[in-house]
């Protein structure tokens, strides 16, 4: 199992939405990094977390599992998870694992933001 590193950056789109930029490898070993980023992205009024996968370089099944547990956490806090920046390969993985049924996938940040800003 090749395990590398994940770098995250958190940006606030509005009081109701934040973006987590992901760069590097999404594997189980990045669990703490992603959880910390999620905590930083979750403000009191945050209703949507946008995951930016443009910098994704590698993902294994442990990484997909980590996204599922992140989704559970978001649901518990009544937040939505949406994603953009997935290339064709990773889109197919989201479809195969049926994660796309719970995490909305968009082509661009603007589209994801529009979803995030929707009442």
């Amino acid at each position: 199992m090749t395990e590398g590193s994940l770098i995250t950056d958190v940006r606030e789109l509005s009081s109701r939405a934040s973006v987590i930029d992901l760069k590097g490898d999404v594997t189980a070993s990045a669990e703490r990094t992603l959880a910390d980023a999620y905590t930083r992205a979750s403000g009191r009024f945050t209703r949507t977390i946008v995951l930016n996968f443009s910098g994704l370089e590698y993902m294994n099944s442990g990484g997909i599992g980590m996204l599922v547990t992140l989704l559970v956490r978001a649901n518990r806090q009544r937040q939505r998870l949406v994603a953009y920046g997935l290339n064709e390969h990773y889109r197919q993985i989201f479809e195969l694992t049926r994660l796309d049924e719970a995490i909305g996938i968009y082509d661009s940040e603007a589209e994801a933001y529009a979803e995030a800003d929707a009442p």
């Binding site: 199992m1 090749t2 189980a28 994704l56 370089e57 590698y58 993902m59 294994n60 099944s61 442990g62 997909i64 599992g65 599922v68 547990t69 989704l71 559970v72 649901n75 518990r76 290339n87 064709e88 390969h89 990773y90 197919q92 993985i93 195969l96 694992t97 049926r98 994660l99 049924e101 719970a102």
Partner: protein, 241 residues
Amino acid sequence: MDSQPRDAAYWAKDVTTLKLGPVPAEAVNLNVTGRRVLGPVQGFGRMWQKTMRVELPGAEVTPAEVIRTWKAEFQRFWPERNWFYAPLTGIAPGEVALLNLNLPGRMRLSTGVLVLYADDESFTLMTPEGHMLAGWITFSATAADDGVTVVQIQALERTNDPLYELGYVLGGNRLNTRFWVETAENLARRFGVEPRVQSQVVCVDRRRQWRHAGNLSKNAAIRTFLWTLATPVRRLRGRSG
């Protein structure tokens, strides 16, 4: 521009429904072909993460060698009276295996798994509609800082429907955990190590997803039971035909 990511060869591709290859004549082949896979998002019961770890001290074996052996001899490490009919091409991304499992009360269950992901040091199996569990299980091996190879089994799962959930609450959860502990023990013994398995069971999500209660319509245990009940009729028809 989409350049090919370095994990591209490890994932199953273009799988919409499962297609099972040839299986031995003695196997019960039900509930696999034509089924879609289900992740933990599509399951019904509480979500569990189960992790079993066992170290292989003294075994001169690399993580890649462990995984190669595990893939080649997967059936050998399962508890007795449970059958994993591996694909002819072995455990590789996109391949489908048939499972014949023994349930409490001498019931049998025919179902399958998809090899969702496989690299040199891990592989992941994902379950289809009708299986007891919706989710996946990853088998991996890593080298610890002291050089000892550590084997891990990690499942992320929900039961698939209300009936399976009831069974899980009434002891199925404990039996399932025991199943994978035994598997880890058998693997360790294969490499000459007296096993000391550490297991951790965490309820990740306590909520039951009632919107997926309809998964019951594809329950593989019920379908296998009905198929077993009808066996004498099929035999009679076979003789008269």
